[in-house]
């Protein structure tokens, strides 16, 4: 709660510090001074900043995040409208990422400096350095254009048409999943390597335990801790919207909403979105901490 209060002050200050006048942006290039004054008054921007802050905070406490300058919709409804798409993409991407990272990272850790390891390094380096918009456009051109296997973009709710939902989810999830997966692969590799070299693993091996048992009980379990941390960070990042991928695949997520809000200097939407991202980070940190204690009983003490 204390953190949130601090966050809300910072959010409000940051948003209002950014240069740019939302009223001028809303009116475009042709308008009269009278129209400008009238709209400024209607949007409450003529009030002193401190007053605007307390009005907003008062609402935010009761779950009312205000009304968008651009559309006149409530900020909560705008966010709620885009939340399912963002959640879908974030979790699908994490799934893809883990499916790539865990096998790839483990295999390359078990055979360090082997051909497999080198190939894995190259793949993860590729995933990190290739721009996601480029990867997205190539996928569209190949799988939607040339092959015609998948639609070029868009979003359909799962409840409406599960097949259409899945078809449209594959490409964006692969692009973000490859990027996140490449990052996570590195962590998996180094943490498995570290666990392999630790004393208790050597002890276990010395006791004569089967390799398989050593691996699942002593190596993987220890390597899990850093994996949970980095996965949590990646998930938080994905949940705050992946703007570029959303734009390339016409995916109506929170990233696009935040971008539009920045461009229009739509303060209420921007504040709402940033506040939500802050909450997401806090919650995920909490969950990661809880998972720690579940995985490693020593932390509980």
């Amino acid at each position: 709660m204390v953190v949130l209060a601090g966050v809300s002050v910072v959010v409000f200050a940051l948003v209002h510090l950014v240069p740019g006048d939302p009223v001028r942006l809303a009116l475009g290039t042709r308008f009269s001074q009278e129209s400008y004054d009238a709209l400024r008054e209607r949007s409450g921007l003529d009030q002193p900043l401190i007053e605007q802050f307390f009005t907003w905070l008062g609402g935010a406490v009761t779950g009312d995040l205000g009304v968008s300058f651009r559309s006149g919709d409530t900020v909560t409804s705008l966010i709620a409208e885009r939340l399912p798409a963002t959640l879908t993409l974030a979790f699908a991407s994490i799934l893809v990422a883990l499916l790539i990272a865990i096998p790839l990272g483990t295999v390359s850790a078990l055979r360090p400096r082997s051909v497999v390891d080198r190939v894995a390094t190259v793949i993860s380096q590729f995933g990190i350095s290739v721009p996601d918009f480029w990867m997205g456009i190539v996928l569209i051109l190949v799988f939607a254009g040339t092959l015609g296997w998948l639609p070029s973009g868009g979003y359909v709710p799962l409840s409406e048409d599960p097949l259409a939902w899945l078809q449209r989810l594959i490409m964006p999830a692969v692009v973000t999943g490859v990027v996140s997966g490449s990052v996570i692969t590195r962590f998996v590799r180094s943490s498995v390597l570290e666990a392999l070299g630790s004393d208790h693993v050597r002890t276990a091996q010395a006791k004569g335990l089967a390799t398989r048992q050593v691996f699942t009980w002593h190596v993987l379990r220890n390597a899990l801790l850093p994996l949970v941390t980095v996965t949590g960070v990646q998930l938080a990042y994905l949940l705050s919207g992946v703007v570029v991928v959303e734009i390339v695949f016409s995916w109506p997520g929170l990233g696009q909403l935040a971008l539009q809000a920045v461009q229009a200097r739509d303060y209420p939407v921007l504040q709402g979105a940033i506040l939500l991202f802050a909450v997401v980070f806090l919650v995920i940190n909490l969950v990661v901490d809880l998972l720690y204690t579940a995985i490693d009983p020593r932390i509980r003490r």
């Binding site: 740019g20 001028r24 129209s35 009238a38 651009r70 015609g148 461009q263």
Partner: protein, 507 residues
């Protein structure tokens, strides 16, 4: 009409077969769209809201064009004003009273009948609440209903461009009396147009044909606007048949698309113009010789080619060729030697540092600025291209915090739109600070001159001075570029970028 349907259908069958040759076809109708007879259009942005009197977003007007009507409307070819909700109109001898006779067979989408009271209400709403387009009613003293079929507009001075002001686009749409109180116009629409507004979310906006439309119900069942920001995705969707129409065509693709049998491409001159402007209050740009040297050094053809890949016409004035009011004045000939001499004669110490402000909101300005910078460098002007976001750009423009900037004026109909507020002393859009009493006199006279020929002469004379003084340094008129499926018929691409699907037919 019905007789040719089977033929058209057969043709489509063949096309669909060839289009799917590359792989298995996918279910493309799953986007929540309507039936087979719904047109799916890929547009590049989501409408911000649907109140025609409030929004200024092009994405909104793409939709609203099909939902609302105005009293008069620009003709699709030459953009002269023609009847819409008004059947005809006349001006009094002194030019101060305009009388519009209205159609008597029009109903709004909520079933109510359209009459003069709705016009009075709509216009007064814009005027009284100082909404976005209030400036268009600057000269209007009153809007009155003489009888249910007649509206009288009184103006303070002859206003020959009144039809363009009240009917140029759907920002002055007619809504039913009391609609602003009765409906949430930001999300609902109650127009008289060929389509009604259905649902709208973060992915699509859907329209349905209005059966009681006064112009006859459209042949298609509806329109689904899909927001596809990435041009490569929009083109792919068009080629695979996911969408049937798009305006999201990158200029660099035009040539490749012209040879593509799966796509019908249209590229026609628009009414927009792009220009560069220098700050008179910042030395040495207040010096006419410096501005003229810059205007002489710039090779407009090269700038146009770089910024628009040829889908534009270089121009030294604002109004595109072919328009009645166009001027053929072109005094500058991209001569760096002459430009250098002009600079030498001016005695201004070289090199001159110039910040050229552009915005990534319009990427073509960034490209053009880079070309301009390279063209000015040899004559001793060091251009620093300053790319900022549009919000910052607008702030700096209005605060006069710039050496020079580049931008465009879009959707111009009347010469008044092209020249007036940009060049008259103290004009709301005269950010450069230009002031020439003779130009003021000519622009004022032209704004109230009712004789078309005489009006053109006045503008011609003003434009020569504006160009010579380099109040604006005109660069080019871009094309409107749109693409659609070859078997879509009845669609007309318009120079004002209005998107009208009323007469579209799908096979």
């Amino acid at each position: 009409m019905r007789a040719i349907r089977p033929l058209a259908l057969a043709a489509t069958g063949a096309l669909a077969l060839s289009a799917c040759g590359g792989g298995e076809s996918v279910d493309t109708g799953g986007g929540g769209g309507g039936g087979d007879n719904t047109l799916v259009a890929a547009v590049s942005a989501q409408p911000d809201q649907f109140d025609p009197h409030v929004t200024s977003a092009y994405a909104s007007f793409q939709v609203l064009e099909n939902v609302y009507d105005t009293l008069v409307v620009p003709n699709p070819e030459d953009l002269t004003m023609e009847p819409s909700l008004a059947t005809d109109w006349e001006t009094s001898e002194d030019g101060l009273t305009w009388t519009f006779n209205l159609r008597d067979d029009v109903t709004f989408h909520d079933g109510s009948e359209f009459d003069a009271a709705d016009v009075v209400y709509s216009f007064n709403r814009i005027i009284d609440e100082e909404l976005q387009n209030a400036y268009r009613f600057e000269n209007v003293e009153s809007v009155e209903a003489v009888d249910p079929q007649t509206v009288e507009i009184t103006v303070s001075q002859p206003t020959p461009n009144l039809p363009a002001l009240i009917g140029g686009f759907k920002g002055t749409a007619i809504i039913p009396e009391g609609a602003a109180e009765e409906y949430d116009l930001q999300t609902e629409a109650v127009g008289t147009g060929p389509f009604t507004l259905g649902s709208s979310d973060a992915s699509t906006t859907e329209l349905a044909a209005y059966e009681d439309y006064w112009g006859g119900a459209p042949s298609i069942d509806g329109v689904e606007f899909r927001y596809v920001t990435e041009p490569a995705a929009a083109l792919t969707a068009l080629e695979t048949g996911e969408v049937q129409w798009t305006d999201n065509v990158p200029p660099q693709q035009i040539e490749a698309l012209q040879g593509n049998a799966d796509v019908e491409l249209a590229s026609i001159p628009s009414v927009d113009y792009w220009y560069m402007s220098m700050n008179y209050a910042r030395e040495p740009f207040g010096n006419p010789a410096v501005r003229q040297a810059i205007a002489t050094a710039i090779d407009r053809e090269a700038v146009t080619e770089a910024a628009r890949f040829g889908a534009a016409q270089a121009n030294q004035t604002a109004i595109p060729e072919g328009n009645f009011f166009a001027s053929d004045y072109a005094p500058f000939d991209a001569d760096q030697e002459a430009a250098r001499r002009l600079l030498e004669q001016s005695g201004v110490p070289l090199p001159i540092e110039m910040g050229l402000m552009v915005t990534d909101e319009y990427p073509e300005t960034v490209t053009a600025a880079q070309v301009i910078a390279s063209q000015l460098q040899p004559i001793g002007i060091d251009v620093e291209v300053q790319t900022v976001d549009f919000a910052t750009w607008l702030d700096r423009q209005s605060e006069g915090d710039f050496d020079a900037f580049m931008l465009g004026w879009l959707g111009n109909l009347d010469p008044f739109d092209y020249y007036h507020s940009q060049h008259i002393t103290g004009g709301v859009n005269n950010y450069q600070g230009y002031s020439n009493p003779e130009v003021d006199r000519l622009l004022q006279a032209a704004s109230s001159e009712t004789d078309r020929e005489a009006r053109k002469d006045l503008y011609d004379e003003a434009v020569r001075m504006i160009v010579d003084d380099v109040s604006y340094l005109y660069l080019y008129n871009p094309n409107v570029v749109q693409a659609w499926e070859p078997d879509l018929s009845g669609y007309t691409i318009r120079p004002d970028r209005a998107i009208n699907f009323e007469d579209v037919e799908l096979p």
